[in-house]
Amino acid sequence: MGLRKAALRKAVIFGAAVAAAGFVATATVQAQTPGPNDQFIAGLIYRTGAYAPNGIPFANGIADYYALVNARDGGINGVKISYEECDTAYATDRGVECYERLKNKGPTGTAYVSPLSTGITFALTEKAPIDKIPIISMGYGRSESRDGSVFQWNFPLLGTYWSAADIIMQHIAKKEGGFDKLKGKKIVLVYHDSPYGKEPIALLEQRAKMHGFEFTPMPVTHPGVEQKATWLQIRQNRPDYVLLWGWGVMNSTSIKEAAAVGFPRDKMYGVWWSGAEPDVRPAEDGAKGYNAAMLQHGAGQFAVHADLKKFLYDKGQGSAKYDETGEVLYNRGLINGMLGVESIRKAQTKFGNKPLTGEQVRWGIENLEISAARIKELGFEGMLQPMKVSCSDHEGTRAGRIQQWDGKKWTVVSEWYESDDKVIKPMVDAAAKKYAEEKKLTVRDCSKES
């Protein structure tokens, strides 16, 4: 018995040693210690868990962009980027843990965080002002957080969920021949039962009140693999349109269930988090005709991808496979990386070419302006429109398009829309005011900010 126990113990130790060696080997590849002259950036990403299929391409895009800036330009004006990932698995508690672990790393702490989770963004919104670290929640987070006078540290760049819902409604109205034609129509929202999924409800209720259509929200519980009941209800109610606010496996399941109950896919409109390749591919032919809003960009390879190939992929240093670098979520990661880098660059004009603190970078994001010429220079022409962030507008731009899946690829099927600020601005003001009162925040006077 003693020998047996000893043998088992040895076996376990041996196994553990092998596993540990493996982990150390991978860990050293990923995490280099940031040098004294490096700009540190924390990456709250997820490559594991229920939402990994959507998290991985985004994480690859963002990592590749930082690597490209280092390899091609030697950093941001000579300041190398040191980037470290921490896997949150899309769980809010793990997200906060990752944030706490990485926020003070490097000479100046992390420049900003991009959690790619509305839940984590909600949690960090309380911490950011204390730690003085800005949150770039590109295309997600609280819709009212675009009001920089209250949400000084939040930047929902490129579009909030209210913008997304409004753009989709404008597109539907256009197809029907105007908002007045929506009277009496039925519109259903199938949403992820979480802070994320609930975001567009306020805007859609407002629009329903304005135009007299019947709006029904239908929740789907995490992770969204069981939606039979929801779609049987949809079959019985026969709505004219279904809007989809899902994430991860919920999206493809929704599309499959829509096919199973025979709801026409070309009457389905997903938010930009329900409009990538992992959302449609598992549904195969069932996804043909399905539409989704675009967070400006779509799929496809542009000038920046040629640089990626030259400086990273040809040297075997890319995070993905080169063919996958044109996918929707990969491109979104690239853009997130680019907006962060440009914000740091902007902040350097005021604070100097050295590693900057979160507080300094916050100024850079708030004063970020990217012109058409600059977009072209960066290699993002065709993916983005010019944008300008300011104290009162942390969104920067509110433009979007609609794309459709043809069974093989996404095709852009609309012109550019801009969400209607006559509808959204009063809602933002009211919600932000309420938040400031609840949290007893001092509201900045944006007219006095430079």
Partner: protein, 374 residues
Amino acid sequence: MLGAFLETLIGGLLTGVLYSLVALGFVLIFKASGVFNFAQGAMVLFAALTIARLSGEIDNKEVHLANFVVAAAILGVAVALIGWYAWREYVARGAGPDERRKMQMLAAVGALVGGIAAYSYGKGAWPIWLAIAATAAIMGLLAYAIERLVLRHLVNQEGIILFMATLGIANFLDGFGQTLWGSDIYKINLGLPKDPLFLFENVFPGGLLVDPGELVAAGIAAGLVVVLAIFFQKTRVGRALRAVADDHAAAQSVGIPLNTIWLIVWTVSGLVALAAGLIWGAKLGVQFSISLIALKALPVLILGGFTSVPGAIVGGLIIGAGEKLSEVFLAPVLVKAFDLAGGGIENWFAYMLALVFLLFRPQGLFGERIIERV
């Protein structure tokens, strides 16, 4: 209205059969060893991932091969560990050189089979039947490893300790499966029909919608249940399993080897996990969320009892139908009547239903009656 009701009922029952299939895996292990196997969901995911990756399309060959090398390496280490451990044990028992040679032969055969598998895999993805067969073998190996490395050392421990051990196994398998095979969405192509069927179109306006894919899946699940019932009632091994379930000590005293029985039970529940993974994987695509399907089996178990195969089946049907009907017909009424904030009720309603049953029959619908003799 009747049409809508029937449609929801049918949809719910078909989903319920699939819940039963997952619940069955729990019941088998609990019956034979009194262990609540929290790792059942992880086993479903692991099996589904293995099938999907072995039968995967060729277009990702590059990644496949790299993964395979890693997989083979890790598998090699695992086999070496088990072999080395077994050898040590033999030596400790005073085994001679013959035993040693036997182990060496075994290792050589293992390496040869592994090599052939790797080579043919390099030639192209396997057909689905071969992938299923290979996965069945891997699930057997997994059962062996669990029995050897974990359970055997926990004999005579409290149930809660064994439960904790399965929690560990669950987390290990979740992570290990994804490390080995990746965490993207993978397809299993069983060729299930996809176009919806509409029955009795002249009776109900719009007909009764039935998903033919689910119909086939429910058929497979039902077939599996019949096979398992026969296995338990009619075979020698099945009788031994039931004997162990009734009384460990008594079974051992008449010469039924406990360790072998456990190995068989874990293998069988591994195969049930394989079937569940195959069907759920074909339905949803193979990815991490599959392991969460196990949570759907919990109310089924509460309702059906932890020790009853028919209980798992009837429980699955009741939960499946109950949650769909409640979501479609009860939720809107509740929301309207009490002006609630809304939200899906089907998840917690299943547990509610199970709890109500529990109040009246604590042992579950078909569970063995709890008789305490003082």
